[in-house]
Symmetry: C4
Subunit: 194 residues, 4 copies
Amino acid sequence: MRLETFSDAVIAIAITLLILEIRVPHIEDASPVELWEELRALWPNYLGFLISFITLGVMWANHCVIFRYIARTNHVFTLINLFLLLCIAFIPFPTALMADYLGHPAQEVGLIVYSGTFVITAVAFNLVWIYASNGNRLLDPAADPKAVSSISRRYLIGPPAYLLAFILAFFSATASLVVLIALTIAYVIPYPGR
Amino acid sequence: MRLETFSDAVIAIAITLLILEIRVPHIEDASPVELWEELRALWPNYLGFLISFITLGVMWANHCVIFRYIARTNHVFTLINLFLLLCIAFIPFPTALMADYLGHPAQEVGLIVYSGTFVITAVAFNLVWIYASNGNRLLDPAADPKAVSSISRRYLIGPPAYLLAFILAFFSATASLVVLIALTIAYVIPYPGR
Amino acid sequence: MRLETFSDAVIAIAITLLILEIRVPHIEDASPVELWEELRALWPNYLGFLISFITLGVMWANHCVIFRYIARTNHVFTLINLFLLLCIAFIPFPTALMADYLGHPAQEVGLIVYSGTFVITAVAFNLVWIYASNGNRLLDPAADPKAVSSISRRYLIGPPAYLLAFILAFFSATASLVVLIALTIAYVIPYPGR
Amino acid sequence: MRLETFSDAVIAIAITLLILEIRVPHIEDASPVELWEELRALWPNYLGFLISFITLGVMWANHCVIFRYIARTNHVFTLINLFLLLCIAFIPFPTALMADYLGHPAQEVGLIVYSGTFVITAVAFNLVWIYASNGNRLLDPAADPKAVSSISRRYLIGPPAYLLAFILAFFSATASLVVLIALTIAYVIPYPGR
């Protein structure tokens, strides 16, 4: 299905473009110590790269999971999936914004935009699945209803979790970041039955 | 068919590169209010990202539609499709030009180039379909002639619509932009029978 | 065959990255006339984009042609194809170099490097085909020997043609550019039997 | 398998983005001799491009080899493969760092980070294979055990070889670079039985 190849390509590009936002520091005749210092100061950029890469990577893995159940496509579904890809393609911008202002007076702005983008992306992901699975609209008739509803429940955790990080960002950039990091770690912990 | 994979890849890359044209504003020790202000000032860039992403995304969806009817390929067809991909790969440049000059004295230039690129791209898209469908040259013999001529009619609306935005740009950047936004919205409104 | 998908992806990315080398001119409060002037001054960049895009696009089409005859692959063949992809991935750099110095005192340098890169790329393309077709090493046993040797003859024109542009670049940047443009035009002229 | 397409795409993008780190030198009205001089001074960038492109290209070829034996996938395996892709997507950054500081006082820093990244990437590659092949967890039951253990042995050379380059980098940037170049050359020498 070209919808899958195209989604794979957009996610792969967005995930790989993230590295372009980490720029090599340029200091004339830096000593090794100075360069190490500059590289250490880029930690918010490494962190943003890690969070965004892992979040999008796991979202790609979940996209594969739901498409194992989806058997058909239609124009509305293509548009909803395009909206998800639009959110994903946008992510390198808030990632760079968050990283560039972390530790600066305006760091809350970066975290509001960054976590807010994740809220919308998680909603978009759920829209893709809900549209396809609602009344088995586009699912393979042989799809196990229990597996389908278990998937639905699992993905519904995303939007409120990111909403929490979004709301926290207005009060404390650190608290918001901690939630985002915790979510990222939760994604990569294998649990039984997965 | 490698023609489809290659087209998917070029469109996916062009669509995702658009984000590189939105750059994080850099202000030393900006206050949150100042950074919000700077982010708000980037609205032409968000708008350009949205218009170009949706236009190319819907063009990709239409590319999928016509390739469901196309069964064969030849060297001339490959070249015409390459011409379409050339237009698509070019779009990040006029998008950035339009966005960077919107609200500045030279904004009409940006809109002339931006809408002009869409005119040529829409013509290229029609050339791909007309070459393939004319006398059923490359179509699946089983293709429904009614569906084929309905597709032909629908896509022929593109070039004159963009031509209108192009002509308006010489008189009013705003009017041209309104037409481009209206076209983008029209693309994503689902209508019965689609 | 993953070799084909991977080649498609690298060529699609190289061809689309070319646009990043055309940068939007930034002039404070430019009048429309001044911006048009600046955009006109970028013509070497548009020309470089066109030549490189069409050359790589046609090379991709030819890559598809030869892989219709290739039935097997091995490690050496993979490495030779990687060498071709390395040349292709390199092309955005000489394209930008040529475009940025055209019309400046050092323009010959740009054309020497640009046409030189095409010489090596054309040689790499021929190596891919010669390694595969020599003694039918990797070809489909059913491949028509006449078609195979006709392809071999056709692609052998590439290296000496680019070598001519390369040698001319040492004497006249214009003459070298004219040869490159002529070659690009020759690629897109359909001729009978193709 | 979408895991393969997605990996192909990420590797293809990372490998092609490398060229964006080689920037055209801009000197006002440079004479040909001056421009040649500037281009010659970019040799660490060409070298970094070559080493990273060939290393990732050969890693892609090896990824194809091991996936010929892998018949199934699961969530943990997807995450391990994502970790490998994360390392690969990161490589343009240390490549640029190494190239930009080679010949400068802080060149050891560049080589420590560059070779260190390759150590982690080689470990990630081995994790992918070990997880899949251990107890034939994800392998095709028909996979030849001798071929499987020969592959395991061959890839285990990677981490200690890069570790040597990493340790040497603390004492001599040149020695570390020589090891990296030697490894790159070793990758492209065909040997009997491959």
